[in-house]
Amino acid sequence: MNFQAIKVIFLQEMLRAWETLFQSLASPVISTCLYFIVFGSAIGSRIQSIDGVSYGLFIVPGLTMLSLLTQSIANASFGIFFPKFTGTIYEIHSAPISYLEIIIGYVGAAATKSLIIGCIILLTASFFVDLNIAHPVWMVTFLILTCISFSLFGFIIGLWANDFEKLQVIPLLVITPLVFLGGSFYSVSMLPPFWQTVTLFNPVVYLISGFRWSFFEVSDVSVGVSLTMILGFLVICIAIVGWMFKTGYRVKQ
């Protein structure tokens, strides 16, 4: 293992966030506050509690996931796309490092950043509502698994994209709708039966459901299924990235 290489890639990526610290932190904090003001207080006060959880509290896990997913994908995809775009990737290719080490460095840094952001959002939320976490260990497990798997997914997008448009298109056209329709702001059981079935094809539903369960012990689907889904997603991402590196698809000429 070339630990030095992992270390410098990781630190370089963290440094990049550090230099734009205000932007990195302000945007998730501000958007969380806005969501809370609009949904939690203004609208939420007129919505009855869901499964015994007040609406303001109910949306906390979904909101966290919303930011976590978008941040993981954005960080990781940009992290690997940028050196490709500027050409500095030549150095990574010419260095004695394995693909695994490259992934650990870039995805590790992206996941760490989103983990920090996740914590900050939860902290911000705790100013608005009284947060009681029923299963802290599971909460952290879901948080970490989500950060890693979606950072890996973002990494794949960054590898695949060969222009800025492609870099944006998947987060915009796929991820955002999936998250909004994934039960961030409502319980799946509130939907008409037909849409309940459709929703079950949305992987984000399982993520949010499991994460919410770790807070309030209420969920749309069982925790086991949630965990299986997210682990499955992680395995698929690992398989794709492994295949890309092995065949050199969009990686090397």
């Binding site: 070339n2 030095q4 440094l15 010419s94």
Partner: protein
């Protein structure tokens, strides 16, 4: 001389279907300075990129220090430093951070004393906290060199190191190259400039159209391929080339005052004595004589042109023959 890099039957076809390298064989000796000369698009960067692991070969192998550069990439890449042709650098990193990054990427423990000296040698130390985007082109070139040397490589590739570089930096660069060579580093550089190859290289390889046309010792190359010309100036202009001189490879200038005799330095007899006697017996009077040796540039241009446009070359030859005929 043992080979530190050994390239066997290397070919590269890009995804577009373009064949950038065709069956290249090349041994690079430990400790030498090898210059790769070739016109734009010849395949120099492609060749270097394959050795360094940036581009995958379509066929053939590269061994570095006896290790295969694909299966044993860790061992081979750790030995190599690369200064790319393009000024590819991050924007917001500082000089110091980017050099430390490079060293770490190659698995070396940080050694700030070494890096400090390196930056000083490259006159970069006072710029160490500057952001890369705020540097001039020449400074960026220096940073790329510093990055390539940051992990103390045994083999250094310089892909067109003097493109866009002023005289001062060029001088510095050659000093650095010589110093590195003296410390045992093998150096491979590509260039369009023949004078550069002539000035710095021990051996010269010429690439054109993806083929390695030749690799030779600089001296031997100039000796072997260098033609000599004997130019004879006549006291009085001759109306045409006398019949008795037709058997010699002689050319009469338009004004009839100069005879040019081209001969091969490698052949056993140059035929100069006979030819001079023949000139005299033809009744022409000598005024002066002068010998010209073709430069590396002439050799290069000849090789590459013949390789590139074989048809055109033939037509040029024919034109010259026609002209000569018309004159006599």
């Amino acid at each position: 001389m043992s080979a530190i890099v050994s390239i066997k039957d290397l070919s590269k076809t890009y995804q577009s279907g373009f064949r950038a390298l065709k069956n290249v064989d090349l041994d690079i000796a430990d400790g030498e300075i090898l210059a790769l000369l070739g016109p734009n698009g010849a395949g120099k960067t492609t060749l270097i990129s394959i050795i360094c692991g940036i581009v995958s070969p379509s066929a053939g192998t590269v061994a570095v220090n006896g290790f295969d550069n694909v299966s044993d990439y860790r061992k081979t890449r750790a030995l190599i430093g690369l200064v790319p042709q393009e000024l590819t650098l991050g924007q917001f990193d500082t000089v110091w951070n980017t050099v430390r990054f490079s060293r770490g990427l190659f698995g070396k423990k940080s050694n700030d004393a070494y890096l400090e000296q390196l930056l000083k040698d490259l006159s970069l130390f006072d710029k160490k906290d500057n952001e890369l985007r705020a540097l001039s082109g020449g400074m960026k070139r220096r940073v790329l060199i510093a990055k390539a040397l940051s992990h103390e490589p045994k083999i250094l590739f310089l892909d067109e190191p003097t493109a866009g570089v002023d005289v001062e930096l060029r001088k510095d660069m050659w000093n650095i190259v010589r110093r590195l060579r003296d410390s045992g580093v093998t150096i491979i550089l590509t260039t369009h400039y023949i004078e550069e190859a002539e000035e710095i290289a021990d051996r010269i390889g010429i690439i054109s159209n993806g083929e390695l046309l030749l690799v030779e010792d600089k001296q031997a190359l100039m000796h072997n391929l260098g033609k000599k010309q004997l130019i004879v100036e006549l006291k009085e202009s001759a109306p045409g080339l006398p019949q008795s001189l037709a058997k010699y490879d002689l050319e009469l200038s338009d004004d009839g005052e100069q005879l040019t005799y081209t001969y091969d330095t490698m052949s056993d007899s140059t035929g100069i004595t006979d030819m001079l006697q023949a000139i005299q017996s033809a009744g022409l009077l000598l005024k002066d004589m002068q010998i010209k040796q073709s430069s590396l540039e002439d050799i290069f241009v000849d090789l590459v042109r013949v390789d590139k446009e074989p048809v055109d070359q033939k037509s040029v030859d024919k034109k010259q023959a026609d002209l000569a005929e018309a004159k006599s």
